[in-house]
Assembly symmetry: C2
Homo-oligomer: 230 residues x 2
């Protein structure tokens, strides 16, 4: 497999996908066109407008972008594509759409056969085993929470450390993930902004500028340095 799952599309103060531009070029090396999956579309913009944002970035590295929503026959579009990018937004909306249109498994099969896949945020969540560690609000009801399983764990993008200065009794991210582990025996990779997961063949590593926090049932959470194998 050839997969890059990023915590976020945009670092604070940065431009869209700028901080992983070199890695994206490597991921899609030799490929001149990819499909963009816009179904998590954030903030109520249209699929067209969201695809345009991705298209503008990829134009800089000479890769054409087609929006998956543009195709009448989406299954055949996925099967014919050379590579994929799924953008962020709301994971519930993304997973609902992919399952209702029977696209989740088709996309997974193509990526498992070796075609490169880039995800950011919600697009990284669906690279995990299931979406039960998303941070998103359940604004729609998906037919199930299963995802592609491109990696043998779940991802928590935008992982945030507890802030002792906040006078607020909502659960911290760490508490939420520990609650997940009371109900599920699946490793969770907390990806801080600026970090990503890279899978090349069978080798899966943590990458980026930040440590990566790992949660496993029955263990204290621990940190992995950039470049560690997962």
């Amino acid at each position: 497999m050839n997969v890059l799952l990023a915590s976020t599309s945009t670092l604070f103060g940065g431009k869209y996908l700028e901080y992983i531009k070199k890695e994206i070029q490597e991921l899609f090396s030799g490929i001149d066109e990819i499909i963009f999956v816009p179904f998590a579309r954030p903030g109520g913009i249209s699929h067209d407008d969201y695809t345009e944002i991705a298209r503008n970035f990829f134009a800089e590295i000479n890769i054409k972008v087609k929006g998956l929503h543009e195709f009448e026959d989406k299954i055949s579009a996925i099967n014919s594509a050379k590579g994929y990018f799924t953008g962020g937004g709301n994971t519930f909306l993304l997973v609902k759409t992919l399952h209702e249109e029977n696209l989740m498994n088709v996309l997974a099969e193509n990526v498992k056969s070796g075609k490169p896949y880039l995800g950011s945020s919600a697009g990284s969540n669906i690279g995990g085993i299931n979406m039960k560690t998303t941070n998103d609000m359940p604004i729609v009801y998906p037919p199930n929470f299963d995802c592609m399983g491109l990696v043998p764990f779940n991802i928590n993008p935008h992982y945030l450390d507890p802030n002792p200065q906040i006078k607020h009794n909502g659960e911290t991210r760490e508490t939420r993930i520990r609650e997940f582990l009371t109900q599920n025996n699946i490793k969770v990779v907390g990806l801080r902004e600026g970090s990503w997961i890279r899978r090349i063949g069978d080798k899966i590593t943590t990458e980026g500028t930040e440590l990566t926090r790992i949660f496993e049932k029955g263990k204290e959470p621990y940190e992995l340095e950039s470049g560690s194998e997962l």
Copy 2:
């Protein structure tokens, strides 16, 4: 109806339910025993331990507490009870359990017939129309997202204002609720900690020390002062 839906059980630096003790006494006035619904149990503690926390508070105001999990026949326990308190934790876990044991509608019918109901956090979420505006992590998959509809809107407990100082690109609470409104036409009441909703008969008011932020499809969000009718 006689309902109190609180944003949180515990204010920063305060004790469990202390800030609404007087209101809870009024809500359950004339009642010497209630049922506690512990199914959202937070942080992996047992139903017994969670019920004990509620029991200790209610002992101070001379109300006995039985945990719903203690009953073999939970439907009949709910039908025989004089009042109810559902505590916080994970809303997905709470809603899944209530639906799987066919308790959501039974509880709703009893509260709609006039028995007093107290909710905090996840226990307030289930007082709304559905749980699509919870902040919680989807650690389990409920058979559906429908809730009791004790009020004709949805609740977002622990409502947090955007913090411009946080260098983080996860969605703000306001962004998430605006995304909900792109997919649903249901009013959302953002309850800051220290605020609650009170329903007496047909009159529904916002209460507490904070302003309450209201979100409606096609409108800019707006604030209501304590005591405003909803």
